[in-house]
Symmetry: D3
Subunit: 280 residues, 6 copies
């Protein structure tokens, strides 16, 4: 099944905020244009995975509700150098005023989807899943988590309010893994409890405490293998820290359930996408 | 002079929005903590240039207005592996609930400042200036442009409403460089007019038309040199397109005034910054 | 551990919106007051459980940041007829302009906490937990879920974005319990999957499909007992529908894990709380 | 004449806020549905008076602007057990994502309209009118006051900014009824002045002072009768405090003009309304 | 008694919006200043009545919460050429970034208060009161109505939601004055009903219908005198239309209760107020 | 070319805010109308220049999206006494609830456009241009600057973020014109630098410092002539202060490039525009 984009009211809200940021009261340069009809074609200048088509559509519709936005591709489709992504017909001013905002979304989100898919392809055949983290660009998390899904990854918990992840800082303050898990299970019986383990001792302690998922922080491939052996499928394991395209296959082959990668959202390179406009 | 951060009301608004995104009604995991006082130390795990200290401060102050935020470094200061950035004292819940949001800002903005400084260092000794573009992450432009300044670059026009930049798409619709510049000068006599030129012919045309700044799009180093010769200082020249750390020195040495680089804001790698928390 | 109220930025936002609703540009009647200092005492006119003290505080602080708000009780404390709840010192206009808004929050939230505690007391000694639902008053869910916690219940999933609950409508559209659970487990491996069962056949099907929690909709006490027997502790069971103070003990004694009650939030009677003001 | 609902921009704003509260970035459970067309039927499970149909419509339109919302009943229509209220056709995800929010509004507002109508029916044949108060659920006052009108009551002043009601707390601070009324008449000559009286002496004082409406707080039926005799139609009288379905008829028969009841809005039980969805 | 300014949360909201309008992400020119302490003195360049001191204070406090704002005058105080209004001490950037926004509020609101006071002085000794209308500058009504009060006038109804004023357009649609008043009295028994009359016949009809206040639209002084004779104090009369400083005395002397003047808010000339800044 | 109005999302946002200000939850008076179709005709009662037609349209569309708004004139068209401006067909309530808000925008903006055009006509034949300033009504700057353009003027810099204007206060703090210009040119090489000069000495200093535009503050016509002679076309000159319809021609004839006038936006008299409504 295809991942669902955020609901339309959220996409519209974000697109509107981005237009306010870039246009505010006036696109000065477009003021010099006459009021002619034009067509704009968005295309890719490099390979990748498309993401953000609904946001791009919203951008132009907010500027001119009767403009025509015709997508040639859908989110998740592969991009080749030169792929046509969408065509927009409307007033010349609409196209030029919306161009940069629409492209900024497409470039950023496609960048995330593309990087995610590279990781996903590297672990094909293993049971591991690629997870996003909360290391997202502030204010864009909904779209970025969606871009990870479009690339074939999983969003993991969205925020502090929808999942329990007990980290070292929590454990240190509470005084131990056992007590931390006990409290979390008591307070949130209807949720899976995830906890961080820095070594195999802590892993065992966490399993004994009754955690559902264990975050293995910065472990070596050898340690991960041993962790999988210890866990025996009784808990789910998430490898985290220092994951790259070079070592992700090896990590996945250890048998862990999840591999979480902050770089998917905080350091993905934008895909080069541009738009050509001509008079109709 | 040091660049000024965005005004406090804007920083607070952005920090608040990011906290709403991440916490909304509850930080579930921190609910298991008792109400103890703690101290958190933010430090860097890699080299770079710090940016975002005011935003980090705002994040913790919004969560607890009487917490103490003590910065050890200022925006623009170099980061070494292990550099202490700031210390926060307050309720354990405050520290843990604000950690990720604060770090997300610091990591992203320091990433931009760091990349910018690398470019700036490469052109030291030339008269060229590094410029940001409008290829920013939607909703974060104010902070990102500021991060470019912190790194030693210049923000260039902020948005469509504060500068004239006539691009190929505009020229094509209007029917020529001469007419485009004429209109812009007529409508915006108190602003400098910048226009794009794809080749040396267009450069000459733009100079004759009376443009103030000319964007040289994707020209080779040889072409740039020739452009500088043609311009004779009568207009300012901005090189753009395909700029990397490898070729920026060469480009700067052609004698152009500006080098604009989209990657500063859309593709900078985050700097790894983290926070340790312990009971007081 | 005491439940944590929503974060201060959310409480302030809600209190501010309520003040805008009630005062907007002017409290006409208070315009006739001179500018004198006064003291207001908030007290209860009936028995119950207090909830909302942070919101009441925020209301008066927004109107006058240097007014003094001194609580005599905390959220969760029992209220007797005549219990003093808080004292506020400030300008007479502050007290009278904020009175109704502060009381509306206190009355509504204390009503929910009080009703919840009545249910909780009825099931003391069983392992069952009282859960809130999403049947909340629109726009007040964060505070209402918190009020349920203050009364001794559990918030359950907050919204559509933080928990999986597959209802009959979903099952009918997908074509069966098995397929519905399969899809949910595939998409959300790090979350517990809850699904509705209308009878014991469906319960068995849901257990076989691998659900984590099963919502038993409108079952009789006899059916619930049988359900507990069938489940054998392999899944968690949530009884729902038609729960009242009269039958909740009996339901809890069947051995179910959770009892969810929409009336906690949509039909709790307000607690009568009022405020007296006099000149200082 | 039928009461008018709040203007469409306000209904949309409230519906949008409620959807943001419940969905935010994703309806997780509906993610498992395929993209099929479906029909949802909203019906009542108990007797009452319908209110909220415009809000329910707005909820689904915000999620999918081309969905079809067909109401079978209008606000103010009686509900029987099983009454069909409305039918919605659209994407299955639209129906399931909007269901709870739409029902929460319908249940709450119909609860208020229903309770109001019960009071209104009890006083049929008298000249008294049932009034709402400002004891509303924070943030929902516009809809709740409207629901009271739908039930046959009157909204009374909406907020602190649109009516003068001098309460005991004001009188105490000013030093007397006479001076309080004098000031109010001086400042607000184009508005009716209402003032509270705790006993018949104060009533006489208020009449002499020139008040237009007098709030009789918590008076016995005997006192109310005497008050009506004293007032001789020169002022309007509002009975308030301790009004129930049991005593409202008796109170109305004393001849008072208004009976105000906080419970209409702060303690009305929700009407049980639900929705069935099936594939088209 | 002095008129009360709008509540602090509204003043802050408006001041913040105005700063966002003028500064947004950066005050470019102030960027060239060093970080020095300075003092600014606000003074008047012409005669008038001061209004807006709370808003000016809010502007500077939002920019720098620890700046010192010391008012020399209060709202309502007379301004002479050269009067010192307030002194602000803080960072030079704070003073220069806030200057224009603060002055814009002061100039506009003092302009309204000044014009109002001129009208008020012209009718001294009569029983008439000067009223504002709803002909205000969009988004600034709360402050403008307050400025009218500061000048000695009365705000009249604030908006469509807090007063009944049946105009010709309403009467034409309903089919007559009598029916219009009947409906309004039925729906809004606790409010005074005002209705427009274009001539003395309509005035009589409106009195018979039971209106409380009658708006006499564009009547000559002779007609107004006759209207006062007809009304005999049974209703209040509001003269409206074509009122100027030249004819207002004559109008007031006819004995009408109110004179409403749109120009107070839509056409008042700004008072020239400026600010000098120097290094401390 | 015609000036472009602000983008539709901004117009809608402002219109919506104005409707919230005036209607909020209910237009009380229109509640007494039946639900009939009507037509409203907006016309002018005096001469002027029309501005605001898009905002008026937005107002009625927000209230009823299928109402018909048919403009007879466009922004910039001359208004005679009696000119028909637009016709709206829709529900009677829509027309009456939107009337005042729509007229307030039209009256205010047409007032600005009309005053601007008067100034523009006075300088016809000279090379001078009429400029708006930042002395605008808070929150309405985008519309007001546009109204100036509609009248034939130029908006000048919009706000603190889109243009450099170094005023006396800045110069005093920095210590001199030369240093101030140097800093500004260094920080904002891609923008024109404007600086204030109070006398001819300062003008020369500013020219030498390399400023692009010089604001001549409150100079006499003789001084302005001398300034033009000194400048010799090397810089642009802006005359400011004390400009009126009486002296603007003389000022323009000195040869200055710009004449900026605060009164255009802070003190323009509203144009009298009204609306008649009748049943269809």
């Amino acid at each position: 099944m295809n991942p669902s984009p955020p609901p339309p009211f959220l996409i519209e809200k974000i697109a509107r905020a981005a237009l306010e940021e870039d246009i505010n009261w006036r696109d000065l340069t477009s003021s010099i244009l006459e009021d002619v009809e034009a067509v704009g074609v968005i295309s890719s200048k490099e390979e990748g995975v498309l993401c953000g088509i609904q946001v791009a559509r919203a951008v132009f519709k907010i500027l001119q509700d009767d403009c025509q936005f015709k997508p040639f591709l859908e989110d998740g489709d592969p991009l080749a150098k030169g792929s046509f992504i969408a065509e927009i017909r409307g007033k010349a001013k609409t196209l030029l005023s919306g161009e940069r905002v629409a492209l900024n979304f497409l470039q950023h989100l496609s960048g995330i989807a593309t990087l995610t898919r590279r990781f996903v392809e590297k672990i094909r055949g293993t049971k591991a899943r690629i997870l996003a983290t909360r290391k997202t660009i502030p204010l864009l998390r909904a779209l970025e988590k969606y871009a990870v899904e479009v690339g074939g990854g999983y969003p993991h918990r969205f925020a502090l309010y929808d999942g329990i992840l007990i980290k070292n800082n929590h454990i240190a303050l509470i005084g131990g893994i056992k007590e931390a898990v006990r409290r979390a299970k008591e307070m949130f019986p209807y949720q899976k409890i995830e906890i961080e383990a820095r070594n195999l001792e802590e892993l065992k302690e966490a399993i004994d405490a009754g955690a559902d998922i264990i975050l293995l922080d910065n472990m070596s491939v050898e340690e991960l293998k041993e962790a999988v052996r210890i866990a025996q499928g009784k808990v789910m394991l998430e490898a985290s820290g220092g994951v790259s395209l070079d070592n992700v296959t090896e990590i996945a082959e250890t048998g862990v359930d999840f591999i979480s990668i902050g770089a998917l959202t905080h350091s993905a390179k934008a895909i080069d996408i541009h738009m050509e406009v001509r008079r109709l």
